[in-house]
């Protein structure tokens, strides 16, 4: 094999010169718009509610949504390839149940932790393999995964199981003091680190770029010689792993395991991704967008909590209205900027 030496072309006739095509770089506009709206929403709330300006409101946002954040990050990978993973909530429940059961059974925590994480990754990989090798629709494959994981969890134990392990307890109780009166917990840090890693992987590694390529056009990606199958399986593995990690964080946050834990979390995660500008058709979106999506959902909940006089019916309606307002504003701002 020889390397081709292509000496630069002798300058062709003048007419052959190509001009650069300048186009404003529009790819960050949706994210910026989302961020902007989020800030607007936050400041309005600060003006309206007592104590909303307390820094712990923001800090708690990360801690309360740590699990969702981690799960949504995994989901982002899957959605960027144009897939979907409905099993994440169930994997959380399986992880928490299994963790609690094993810890109760006296297993050492340092064995339990990697074991459940591995299990999550394996479930993900299994789904990915079915999707890739047998060309089963991601929706149906991961729905089967959902039934299987939650089914297993319910089968192991229907009841909620308290975790009394010292390590779990101490991580759960460990307080990280950020400022006077503002504390957070390790799970928030884990979530943020996950986000950072994911962002780096998506933007700076071959794997990350393959994820985008497959989402853009899987057939082309295959013809371009990219490892499509491997990458597809890998994203579901990542998602499964993130779900298991989310489950672990959950079990730390609540020091318990329960087979119905994380019920419906898949939809929350998908919604967070989509609100953050990740396209369900694949090929486009950023982890940062997902983070914003999670924060939007979390902020809406916080607002409802501070409002404090809504019954269930009205809180649903207000969530819908806020979501609607947000999405429409996002569309308008994005469209204008483009």
């Amino acid at each position: 094999m020889t390397t081709v030496d292509m000496t630069p072309a002798t300058k062709g006739p003048e007419i052959n010169k190509r001009r650069r095509v300048y186009k404003p770089n529009t790819k960050y506009i949706p994210i910026l718009a989302t961020l902007f709206l989020l800030v607007v929403m936050y400041s309005t709330s600060v003006a309206n509610y007592e104590n909303f300006g307390d820094p712990s409101v923001i800090v708690n946002l990360f801690r309360d949504n740590a699990v969702l954040l981690v799960v949504a990050v995994g989901m982002t990978f899957v959605i960027i390839t144009g897939g979907i993973d409905l099993s994440v909530g169930a994997v959380i429940s399986l992880t928490t149940t299994l963790t609690a059961t094993l810890l109760q059974g006296g297993w050492p925590p340092l064995v339990v932790l990697p074991a459940v994480l591995l299990l999550g990754a394996l479930i993900g990989a299994g789904q990915g393999a079915v999707i890739h090798f047998f060309k089963v629709e991601p929706f149906i494959a991961t729905l089967a995964g959902l039934f299987l994981a939650r089914g297993l969890a319910l089968f192991i134990n229907q009841k909620s199981i308290p975790i009394r392990d010292d390590l779990w307890r101490s991580i759960s109780d460990y307080r990280i003091v950020l400022a006077d009166g503002v504390v957070t917990k390790p799970i928030a840090i884990v979530a943020l680190v996950t986000v950072l890693i994911a962002a780096v992987v998506l933007a700076w590694t071959r794997f990350g770029r393959n994820v985008y390529a497959i989402g853009g056009n899987a057939d082309s990606a295959l013809l371009m010689g990219l490892p499509v199958g491997r990458t597809k399986i890998a994203v579901y593995t990542v998602s499964g792993f993130c779900a298991a990690l989310g489950g672990v964080l959950f079990s730390i946050n609540s020091t318990s395991g329960w087979a119905l834990q994380g019920n419906g979390m898949e939809l929350d995660a998908i919604a967070a991704c989509v609100i953050g500008g990740v396209l369900l058709t694949g090929g486009s979106g950023y982890v940062w967008g997902t983070v914003l999506g999670v924060l939007v959902a979390g902020l809406i909940r916080t607002i409802l909590n501070f409002q404090g006089d809504l019954n269930s019916a009205w809180s649903r309606i207000i969530i819908g209205v806020l979501l609607f307002g947000f999405i429409v504003m996002q569309r308008l701002v994005t469209r204008k900027a483009k």
Partner: protein
């Protein structure tokens, strides 16, 4: 060269698709340092042969040897690793990624596992410069036209360190200058000992660049020759299996009709029509029965000009009138109501609907004009479809086959049929002969001439200047997204004259 052993040897290759034997015992050899043309009509099996080689399809029989060693290639990745670099027929890139990424994805320069974006962009810019392209390599690929995408695909392929380079119709939407650039690069690569497999329906190009050629017909190997052994006529004969019916002299006819057309009623008039960032305001009048050709270089804005006349993009300046009445083309539907039809150059993403059958693809536009409540009776559908399958020689002649499974050229014919059955008053065709074989190309040209005789106006966009010259009554020349000159296609107008205009940038 004869003494050398072939770098690639395929023997007895067989590939069967449900209902079609695409390849039937085909042998093919490729020697180092040669450009080898693979010839054949649309649907002859060229692309399929290439795809069996790169492992996209599993072969049903036969043997492939690379460098004398029998191999089984499991997929494009393995093919690439084995030193086979390919540009597939339909541009297969990820348009959501940037230009630079499309060139380097899978082979990104890395340090500590981290992609070096700066280095990648720099190298992409350099590489494209060798093809004489100056693009913003960090812009997403979908902001560029199909022709540029094709160049990017070529850039990707030639940068891969390979011993076999496959180019499946790389020139189908390039114009002369780009083709020249490409050939220059191909010669360089060839000299370094790489074997090149080249597919094109442009016979001139074949005779210019190739050393040897292999001819396929109906999935069967016909023969293998040195280029010098054959004349164009002989080649065509071997490809289609019979003598090519003598073409009427279209050019003369165009001349004869020119004056008639110019005197006819103006059908469509654009005044100062334009769109920011796409095309500067232009004036253009198209008369009934007139064929207007658009000439210009790659990226000169021909497509953009045409799209405004169909409402595919919305004009933000100027005005347009049809039959003397002002109209605003909000979207294609409105244009269709005024009898305008538009066949896009980008058949894969803007043309065919892959899942649907040939029949459904053909009647789609006609059905759209009728609205969903008035379906075209099935019997009538079958009639129309059968007629056009015959007229345009769409193969396989099975109306119920998903259009995705047709060869590229046949897909193009399906699109043409889609618009012809709507009986438009103005037919805008952007690169209608892209990827179409010699025989069919002649048929299409004839068809355009006939349609214009029958009073249909045609706006004809083609990268092939000759074709434009042969058919058009009037030629509009574009440069830098600006209509620079409009000239009557009189006898003294030729390719040089137009290239001159493009070069000088004269304004009319």
């Amino acid at each position: 060269m004869g003494e050398q052993s072939p770098v690639l040897e395929m023997t007895g290759i067989r590939k069967v698709f449900p209902g079609v034997v695409a390849l039937d015992g085909v042998d093919f050899r490729l020697f180092p340092g040669e450009v080898h043309a693979l010839m054949g009509e649309n649907g002859a099996g060229k692309s399929t042969l290439i795809k069996t080689l790169t492992g996209v399809y599993e072969i049903d029989g036969g043997e492939i040897k690379l460098g004398g060693v029998p191999v089984r290639i499991a997929g494009p990745l393995q093919a690439q690793q084995a030193g086979v670099s390919t540009v597939y027929q339909e541009v297969n890139l990820c348009t959501n990624l940037s230009v630079a990424e499309n060139i380097f994805i899978g082979r990104e320069p890395r340090k500590w596992g981290k992609i070096q974006w700066g280095k990648m962009r720099r190298r992409a810019t350099e590489l494209l410069a060798r093809l004489d392209l100056d693009l913003d390599v960090s812009a997403p690929l979908d902001t560029y036209s199909l022709a540029i995408q094709q160049m990017v695909a070529i850039a990707r392929a030639i940068d891969i360190d390979a011993r076999v380079l496959i180019l499946d119709e790389p020139t189908s939407s390039l114009d002369t200058a780009e083709v020249e650039q490409l050939f220059r690069v191909m010669r360089l690569i060839k000299e370094s000992g790489v074997a090149i497999l080249f597919v094109s329906h442009f016979l001139d190009q074949i005779f210019e660049i190739s050393d040897r050629l292999t001819i396929l017909r109906n999935g069967q190997l016909i023969s293998e020759h040195r280029v010098e052994e054959l004349s164009q006529v002989q080649l065509v004969e071997k490809m289609i299996g019979k003598e090519l019916a003598a073409l009427e002299d279209l050019e003369d006819k165009a001349q004869r009709n020119r004056e008639r057309a110019a005197e006819a009623k103006p059908l469509l008039e654009a005044k100062g029509l334009g769109r920011t960032g796409a095309i500067s305001p232009y004036d253009l009048t198209i008369h009934e029965g007139e064929v207007v050709g658009l000439a210009g270089l790659l990226g000169s804005g021909r497509t953009e000009l045409a799209r405004l006349l169909f409402g595919a993009d919305k004009a933000d300046k100027g005005e347009l009138s049809v039959d003397g009445k002002r109209v605003t083309l909000r979207d294609p539907q409105v244009a269709m109501k005024h009898g305008i039809a538009f066949s896009s150059e980008n058949r894969r993403t803007e043309g065919i609907i892959g899942d649907l059958s040939v029949r459904e693809n053909i009647i789609l536009a006609l059905q759209a004009t009728r609205g969903w409540t008035r379906p075209i009776p099935r019997k009538k559908q079958d009639e129309i479809v059968e007629k056009y399958i015959k007229a345009l020689q769409i193969r396989p002649a099975d109306p119920e086959r998903p259009v995705r499974n047709l060869s590229g050229g046949n897909q193009q014919k399906v699109l043409l049929a889609r618009w012809l059955i709507t009986e438009p008053r103005l037919l805008i065709i952007d690169e209608p002969t892209r990827g179409i074989d010699v025989g069919a190309k002649a048929e299409i040209q004839k068809l355009v001439a006939e349609l214009s005789d029958g009073g249909m106006a045609v706006l004809f966009v083609s990268a092939e200047l000759e074709e434009v010259l042969r058919l058009s009554h009037k030629i509009a020349v574009l440069r830098d997204r600006r209509l620079v000159e409009e000239l009557e296609n009189t006898a003294d107008v030729d390719a040089d004259r137009i290239m001159q205009t493009i070069a000088s940038g004269a304004t009319s």
